[in-house]
Symmetry: C2
Subunit: 165 residues, 2 copies
DNA sequence: CACTTCTTTCACAACTTCGTGAAGCATGTA
DNA sequence: TACATGCTTCACGAAGTTGTGAAAGAAGTG
């Protein structure tokens, strides 16, 4: 496969910054977003802390904080090369699917709070009814996300076949 | 329907703050989130600027800024009572569905940037292939969102029947 | 054309967030 | 045990947001 030296470093860096920026706009903290984008551009999906610091021109401290975030939300896993003291960070497979579909917690909270709201307003009031419908909507979204993951897997299989073979 | 005075004001206020907080956590700016939550708790879905200021204990300036945001993103519309000088803000119907599904712009940007990334890395590299699959994923999500809206409409009809009649 | 009422604009202060440098800590090597 | 390497913690300063009060603006009324 293409080696690093073949790449248009400038263009890759530009991609990292642009895509990182978009991710940041969607709510991912800046540094983690940039690191994620950088990992995406590696063939192996792996990068050492030092490489990250160098690529993004950030301090070791910033790397430390950001990878902590990424590992906490399980987007990145930490590895250690045997015989080395360096940590290597690997982008976990299927980050996108998981990040997209793993909204359960948030949706659960929404459901809870909306239930309280219906209670407080009375299910027989207009406002209570609106809240109840809102609640049903989020429940619907929740259920859809589950089946969507299955559909994506199927779609992916097909796409890979058409695309590669 | 239930009048305002029947309500447990405390409980309603608590709901407003909780739900507003959740919305804020998902990226909606604080004040707009709280206002939206407050509008949800009204039977009419309408509130004057003064009522908002009073309910949420914020300055008229804050109301002004927040409703500007909400009207810009088309979650709220401004009305004027004939014979009054007060602006009334109405929550538009179907806010959730629209807010949830109207991600087209963002997904378009992602698609663009990922295409650049594939270009920069070379489609034949591992990294390029990963990016390409990522791109396909977001395209898939985009198409799903469209059909999901239809499914929601159908689901809603059914739910309303079972629920009310 | 003053007056009243409501909304908007603007400069500022409070608050948060973020990344850094420096120091500390853990772990491996001689 | 001393030393080297690399990660983490922490206090600080920079930067960006956010909401406020004050003043200006807009629009109806007498």
């Amino acid at each position: 496969m293409t080696s690093t030296t073949d790449r248009d470093t400038q263009a890759v860096s530009q991609f990292v910054e642009r895509f990182g920026g978009i991710l940041a706009d969607t709510g991912v903290p800046r540094m983690p977003a940039r690191i994620l984008a950088a990992l995406l551009t590696t063939d192996s999906g792996r990068l050492t802390a030092a490489e990250i610091a160098d690529l993004l021109q950030i301090s070791p401290a910033a790397v430390s904080g950001a990878v902590r975030y990424l590992t906490t939300v399980q987007i990145v896993s930490r590895e250690r090369e045997p015989g080395s003291r360096r940590d290597v960070y690997r982008m976990r497979d299927n980050v996108w699917y998981e990040a997209t579909f793993r909204k359960d917690q948030m949706l659960g909270m929404i459901d809870e709070v909306l239930a309280e709201g219906v209670e407080a307003l009375g299910a027989d009031s207009d406002a209570g009814a609106r809240l109840d419908e809102t609640r049903e909507f989020f429940r619907f979204v929740h259920s859809e996300l589950g089946s969507m993951l299955d559909r994506w897997r199927a779609h992916r299989e097909k796409w890979l076949e058409e695309h590669q073979g």
